[in-house]
Symmetry: C2
Subunit: 213 residues, 2 copies
């Protein structure tokens, strides 16, 4: 275990501490249905000294940026791999993709709101980096995925940009409205059963909406 000094605080750095801080920050935002964290809660739940946040991320904004990067990089990698798959037809790819979007927002329901917050609070260069690294690649993947299906005559001709908003909006909204669930439907938790019901519903509606007949 190495020892570091931050602002006159010498502390031990447990192995995996950076990852553990990100995991804990993610869990706090998911559990609280919020896009913010308090460093004292982070320290309490992670069991790690909050000086480690300064050491790894500079400050809370740096931690949030690192979390955004972590979550988005996983998504972009996964979507790119799906689009590149040669042995899968466009319909199967789109079904698989929608299913993955459900898994993603179930795991990180705060992601869209965190992204908007970071874009809003960043300077122009950082906002453009977020758009270029994460939002534009997903949009281009939609152009490829939808375009392939349209050319194959499997999909009706729809605008990939608008379709992107339809899919991600329908999914994001569901998983970021726990409070609606609580007060309207007496259901306070995002259960796996609810996730799977919404997965089936969403794939059903969206695929029927885009498939050529």
């Amino acid at each position: 275990m190495k020892r570091i000094g931050v602002e006159d605080v010498a502390l031990a750095v447990p192995p995996g501490a950076r990852e553990h801080l990100l995991d804990t920050a993610s869990a706090i935002m998911r559990d609280g249905d919020i896009v913010d964290i308090s460093l004292s809660e982070l320290s309490l739940r992670s069991g790690l000294n909050s000086a480690l946040v300064k050491y790894y991320f500079g400050n809370k904004a740096g931690l949030l940026k690192a979390l955004l990067d972590r979550d988005w990089q996983a998504i972009v990698r996964s979507v790119d791999a799906l689009v590149a798959k040669g042995d899968m037809d466009p319909e199967a790819k789109l079904r698989r993709h929608i299913s993955k979007v459900i898994d993603t927002f179930y795991a990180v329901p705060y992601l869209n709101r965190l992204t908007m917050r970071m874009v809003r609070e960043s300077d122009d260069a950082e906002a453009r980096r977020i758009a270029d690294c994460y939002l534009s690649p997903i949009y281009r993947a939609y152009e490829d995925l939808i375009g392939e299906g349209v050319r194959a005559g499997v999909f009706r001709s729809v605008d990939p940009q608008l379709f992107y908003f339809t899919v991600t909006g329908a999914v994001d909204r569901f998983f970021s409205t726990r409070l609606v669930m609580k007060y309207c439907f007496d259901q306070d938790t995002l259960t796996e059963e609810l996730r799977d019901r919404y997965r089936e519903h969403t794939i059903d509606i969206i695929m029927a909406g885009i498939l050529a007949r």
Copy 2:
């Protein structure tokens, strides 16, 4: 013009001042893509003394509550009237409804986020009032609207609760992501042309998704 005294400030109350404050608060949140207002900006843009906020609404939270009530009451009235229409078939009603949802979020793109904020920041009784007065009636309207179409054999059998999230999510997301537009698509404003393109796209996808074949 009557004169009122609020905290030792005697000021004139122009006719329509309450409505004008709400209109201005709505415009500020729409223009800034935010769910908050500063009272000084409200005073500047409305041309009204900010003591009038205290007079009509008590404080900023009271103003936001009044805006939430104003926006939602219009929606609930409109949806109830649509469901009750005897001379329109379920498919036409649903098309009309989706079109109205587009108009609503174009006019008040902050509404879902404001609702979530107010539910989160309210005590349990007020949160339940918001759910009972605004969210539950819309959900019941979906049960009626979808149920009517399913019984008529026009719609496939879908869960009205999940369908509600699909429709409102797809629309809400589009109009509350101006920043994505700006950085990904170099399009910074919600134009009427863009609204109408998204209207056509959404009705196309969702109707194809639900109609029985």
